[in-house]
């Protein structure tokens, strides 16, 4: 009896989670511009999407920003995680930990606003960073994603037995060698997951990018956001379907990767 009840709950729960997304996928193949009528199956909106130069340029910008910021964030985040997990108390440790995790809970508008104010101040003092390039968005996204990456890698490091590292150090390996030969391979799943998460978060952000982006660095979410203000658009359906397909494949692949590694419980 209870078994049935829980199945009903799960059915409606997952229906709520997936029905809206399935609608998007179905209507992306609708020939008509309107949701009201189904006139036939077509790839029309995909073609329109691919031949739209504004969307293409914004996609390239977004991918560049996401790639660079995810990579930088993983490097910085791994450093921060090692500091937090391995070296314990440093002067200002509590403040550092607080500041590194605070972007997790910081409202996006506040973060975007404060970073823009910093960039404007810095530009008038040092003449850098110039808001005409992508650099401001990249910096903002690194700051945003750093906390996620740090927490993921740090959780992994804390689960690891650091006696292996200590043994290697005792046997005369240099700290750098220990890091690259022992620590890095062991935290690799967390780093991959962290990179992926940082990439997706960067690709997804519209508010912070809207604040800090200059005229030349319009990202894809900014384009999508401004077109959503005018309501339903079938091109966005097509775009959403493509994005969802890519992201689900990436997530499933990373899950398989982590699962095969036998570390799913640690994630």
């Amino acid at each position: 009896m209870r078994f049935k009840w829980s199945n009903v709950v799960l059915f409606f729960g997952y229906l709520f989670l997936y029905f809206p997304l399935i609608c998007i996928v179905i209507y992306s193949f609708n020939e008509s511009r309107f949701v009201s009528t189904w006139t036939g199956f077509s790839f029309k909106w995909y073609k329109a999407l691919i031949s739209d130069p504004i969307i293409l340029r914004a996609t390239v910008t977004s991918l560049k920003v996401a790639g660079v910021s995810a990579t930088a964030s993983v490097i910085l985040g791994t450093m921060a995680a090692i500091i937090i997990a391995r070296w314990g108390a440093f002067p200002g440790n509590t403040l550092f930990l607080g500041a590194i995790t605070a972007p997790l809970v910081m409202p996006e508008v506040v973060m975007g606003l404060s970073l823009l104010m910093l960039f404007v101040g810095m530009e008038s003092f040092f003449g850098w960073p110039s808001r005409s390039g992508n650099i401001t968005v990249i910096i903002a996204h690194i700051t945003l994603t750093l906390s996620y990456v740090t927490l993921l890698v740090q959780a992994r490091l804390q689960d690891l037995d650091n006696s292996i590292e200590e043994a290697a150090l005792d046997l005369g390996a240099s700290p750098l060698k220990v890091f690259f030969v022992i620590t890095l391979p062991m935290i690799a799943p967390a780093i991959v997951l962290g990179w992926l998460l940082a990439f997706v978060l960067s690709l997804d952000d519209v508010v912070i990018a809207s604040f800090v982006a200059g005229p030349g660095s319009t990202t894809l979410p900014m384009i999508v956001f401004s077109s959503l203000r005018f309501g339903i658009s079938p091109e966005i359906n097509a775009l959403a379907t493509i994005l969802m397909t890519i992201l689900s494949i990436a997530v499933i692949m990373s899950a398989v990767f982590i699962y095969k590694d036998g570390n799913i419980k640690n994630m």
Binding site: S6, G13, I24, V110, V207, L228, L243, M244
Partner: protein, 311 residues
Amino acid sequence: MYRIEEIIISWFSELMKKIKGRHFLVAIPYGWVFVFFICPCLILIRISLAENLIASPPYTSLIEWISGYMLQIRINLGNYMVLFTDEMYIRGFATSILIAGTSTICCLLMGFPMAYAIARSSEKIRGILLMLVVLPFWTSFLIRVYAWIMLLSPCGFINNLLIRLNLIEAPLQLMNNSCAACIGIIYAYLPFMIFPLYSAIEKIDYTLMEAAYDLGSSPLKAFFSIVVPLAIPGIYAGSALVFVPAIGEFVIPELLGGAQTLTIGRLVWNEFFGNMSWPTAASLSIILLIFVVFPIVFAQRRREAKLSIVD
């Protein structure tokens, strides 16, 4: 003079000897966080205390030298005063809290049965069920909001369906109200509620339930007197995880809430992009941060209290 230079140089080389690789390693993330997180926060506080100015940058400086010898510090609390006297801002705070609170409660009411059902499902499919909860979270946030525009808009899916079934004549106004904003927030943040609830419920020892049944308790009573109290840490964590992003949310109220659902996030945006009033936007942000910090501290206190009881 010569000696002083010598001392400085020797002191500096001494310092350079002490600095090793690991210090540089510490300095890089420390420096990053200091420059790009702590500094912006300080600048935000500083600008919130300035006066509005039609110039570039559009605010006054707090400290000024007047006629070469007088140091003048002008701190303007007017930006904060306005926030607590102007009806628009007060209504904005109320709307934000109402929407965030309602969505948190709805998330809890929807998330709890789901988390419980997942925790009680067989271990084989549990991983898949959990992954299905996170998967929408990995699709773009804007797309998830857009999905609801498509469902709720006047020419959207639900209105079409109802008209086709001859249940209504004209399309209902489902979008552009605070209810639609709530639905959007629930949809976007439901995974944040399910996960902490699941990890709390999963730990519950079910022999307690069986004991309750054996002693003649009804399933419902056993549920409310065993599962719910033991899941309280998860309830607090999940509620904080939903409430905190919901209160500062900008995109969902902007796209689904219509013109009258002015949340704090939207007010900050409008002050900055619409009125070009940096000081007001900054002071609103500070107030928003206070709204965010409060539930976190509360949840943390509760957790610590709970832990100290366990100890």
